[in-house]
Amino acid sequence: MTDDHDWDRTTMARLRAGDGAALGELYDQFGGLVFGLARRITRDTDLAQEVTQEVFCYLWQHPDRFDDGRGTIRSFLGTLAHRRAVDTVRSSEAYRRTASREAAQHPPTPPDIAERVEAYLQAEEVRSAVAGLPEEERVPILLAYFEGYSYRQLADLLGIPEGTAKSRIRRAMAHLNASLTAGKTHDD
C-alpha cells in the first residue's frame, strides 16, 4: 500500500476514535481544496465557508461513510464539497434570481464559458488532461462540473440534442478517467 493510503487509513481510524486533532490535520491537508472548489461553484466566499464547515463537520459526524476501498479521502472530500456546493447554489433563491437576471442581460456563449472555466485549471496535469479532450467533450464536462449545467441546459446552450450532450459527457469522463486516474495511481 502507498504512504497516502496508509495516511488515509490511519487518519480515518483516528477520526472514528474521536481524535479531534485528526480533524484539524484533515482540514490542514484538504481545507484549501474544499474551500476553493466550494467558492468556485458558489462564487461566494461566505457560502464557500459554510460549505467547507459543513463538509468537515459531516466527515467528523459520519466517518463511517468513507470507504477506503473506494477511493481516497481527497476524492471523498472533493465529492462532498462539490455536492454541498451544488445543493447550496440550487437552494439559494437569491443566487438563482441574480444568475437568471445576468443571463438575460448577457447570455453566455459556449466558447466564452469554456475559456473562463479552463482559465481556472491551474494544475499542469489537469490542464494537460483537459486540453487533450476534443472540444465537443471538453466544453460540456467543464460546464457540467464547474457550472452545474444539466443535460437539458447543455443541449440548449450548445444547440445539440440532450442525448448527444449525455454521450459527450460520458466519453469525456472516460477519457479523463484514463489520463488522470491512471497517472495518479502510479504517482501515489
Binding site: 482540514y27 481544496l33 468537515f56 459526524q61 464547474f146
Partner: protein
C-alpha cells in the same frame, strides 16, 4: 421508484456530476448498494472529477479552521469512538467480564485444569490465585484486613483445592468470591465508589479497582483460553471503553507523577507542560489527551506526540502481554521520547489489579 441495472448505468455520470435532483440521487444511491461494480465505477468517476477540483485549491480564511473545529465538537463530542454504546459502569464491567470467565471455566475439562498457562502456573493454580485476589478485593472494599499476605501467602486458602484437583469446588470457590464481591459493590453509594482504597500498596478509587479486577479477569481468561487451545475473546465495546478510560486515567496519573504514579512510574515522567494523545481505534476505543504537566489540556489541540493503536492490542500491552512494549503495532506521531515513555510505563498497570506469584 426502483432503478434497474441498465437505468442505473445510464445515470452514473449525472450522479457523479451531481446533476440529479435529491430524490433521484437517493434512488441511485440505494440501487448502487445492489450493484457493487457500478458503485465502483461511480466512485472512479468521482475520483476523476475530484482531480479537476485540485485546480481550485485556495487558501481559506484564517479563522475558518477554529470555527469548524468548534462546530464539529458541538455535533459530536471529541474523545468517544463513533457509534459505540455508552461506557459500562465499573460494576457492570466487572460483572460482565466475570460472567465471560465463568462461562469459559464451565467448558473446561479436568485435563484442561492441568494445562500450563502463563508464568508456569496451571489453569487450576491461576484460578486459585484469582480466588485469593477476589477475597482480597472484597476485604479491601469492606475495609477489613485480609488474612493472606500477597503475594506469597494469598493462596493458602485455595492451594488445598488445587492439590486435590477438585475442579468443581475450585470453580465454585471462585464464583462465590465473585458473587461476594458483587454483593459488596452493589451496596456502595456513588460517593463510596469514588472513594479511595489501598490495594497492593497503591491508592485506587473503588470504581477503578473494580475495573482493574475486570481487566485481570479478562487477561487471565485469555491466558487460560490460550493454554487449552481456545480463541481469545475481547469484551464488548461498552466494557472495553470503560477499561480503556481507566487505563488512560491511570496512565495520565503515572506520567504526570500524580496518583497511581508512586513506586511504578520510574522513567515515565516527562518534564514540563507537554501533552500526549492516546488514540485507540476499534469498537470501544476513543481518544484521550494525557496531560503531562500542570494545567488542563484541550481535547481538540494538537499534541506533542500521538500514539495510535488498536484498543484491544493496547489493553494487552497494559496487561503486560505484549513484550517488548515497542513491539505493539502502533502509529507513532511526534515526540519519540514521550512515546517511548508511554510504552514503557503502560505494562506497569498490570500490577494494579493483580499481584502475580512471580513478583
Amino acid at each position: 421508484m426502483t432503478i434497474d441495472r441498465q437505468e442505473l448505468a445510464e445515470l452514473l455520470e449525472a450522479y457523479a456530476l451531481d446533476l440529479l435532483d435529491e430524490a433521484t440521487r437517493g434512488e441511485v444511491e440505494r440501487a448502487l448498494h445492489l450493484h457493487p461494480d457500478l458503485r465502483d465505477r461511480a466512485a472512479s468517476m468521482q475520483q476523476t472529477l475530484s482531480l479537476l477540483a485540485e485546480s481550485e485549491e485556495a487558501a481559506a480564511p484564517d479563522d475558518l479552521r477554529s470555527t469548524m473545529l468548534v462546530a464539529a465538537a458541538d455535533r459530536r463530542p471529541p474523545g468517544r469512538a463513533d457509534g459505540d454504546p455508552p461506557a459500562a459502569d465499573a460494576l457492570q464491567c466487572y460483572r460482565e467480564t466475570a460472567d465471560e470467565l465463568s462461562t469459559l471455566l464451565e467448558a473446561l475439562t479436568d485435563d484442561d485444569f492441568g494445562a500450563e498457562t502463563i508464568y508456569g502456573s496451571t489453569v487450576a493454580e491461576l484460578l486459585a490465585h484469582l480466588c485469593a485476589v477476589e477475597a482480597y478485593t472484597q476485604a479491601a472494599l469492606e475495609g477489613r484486613p485480609f488474612a493472606g499476605d500477597l503475594p506469597d501467602g494469598h493462596r493458602a486458602l485455595t492451594d488445598p483445592l488445587v492439590d486435590r484437583r477438585d475442579r468443581s469446588e475450585l470453580i465454585g470457590r471462585w464464583r462465590g468470591g465473585r458473587d461476594g464481591l458483587v454483593a459488596v459493590a452493589e451496596r456502595l453509594s456513588s460517593d463510596q465508589l469514588g472513594a479511595e482504597v489501598s490495594f497492593h500498596d497503591t491508592m485506587l478509587r473503588v470504581d477503578q479497582l473494580l475495573v482493574a479486577r475486570a481487566f485481570e479477569l479478562w487477561t487471565h481468561g485469555d491466558d487460560i483460553a490460550r493454554a487449552v487451545g481456545r480463541p481469545d475473546r475481547a469484551p464488548g465495546p461498552a466494557v472495553l471503553r470503560t477499561m480503556a478510560d481507566t487505563v488512560a486515567e491511570l496512565l495520565s496519573g503515572i506520567l504526570s507523577g500524580g496518583r497511581g504514579g508512586s513506586g511504578s512510574g520510574d522513567g515515565g515522567q516527562a518534564q514540563g507542560s507537554t501533552s500526549l494523545r492516546l488514540t485507540l481505534t476499534g469498537p470501544g476505543g476513543g481518544s484521550w489527551m494525557l496531560g503531562l504537566g500542570p494545567g488542563s489540556v484541550d481535547e481538540l489541540a494538537d499534541a506533542d506526540a500521538t500514539l495510535v493503536a488498536d484498543v484491544v492490542d493496547f489493553c494487552h500491552l497494559a496487561a503486560d502481554r505484549i513484550r517488548p512494549p515497542q513491539s505493539l503495532a502502533a502509529v507513532r506521531l511526534g515526540n519519540d521520547a514521550l512515546l517511548d515513555a508511554l510504552l514503557a510505563v503502560t505494562p506497569m498497570l498490570a500490577e494494579y489489579g493483580d499481584r502475580r506469584p512471580d513478583r
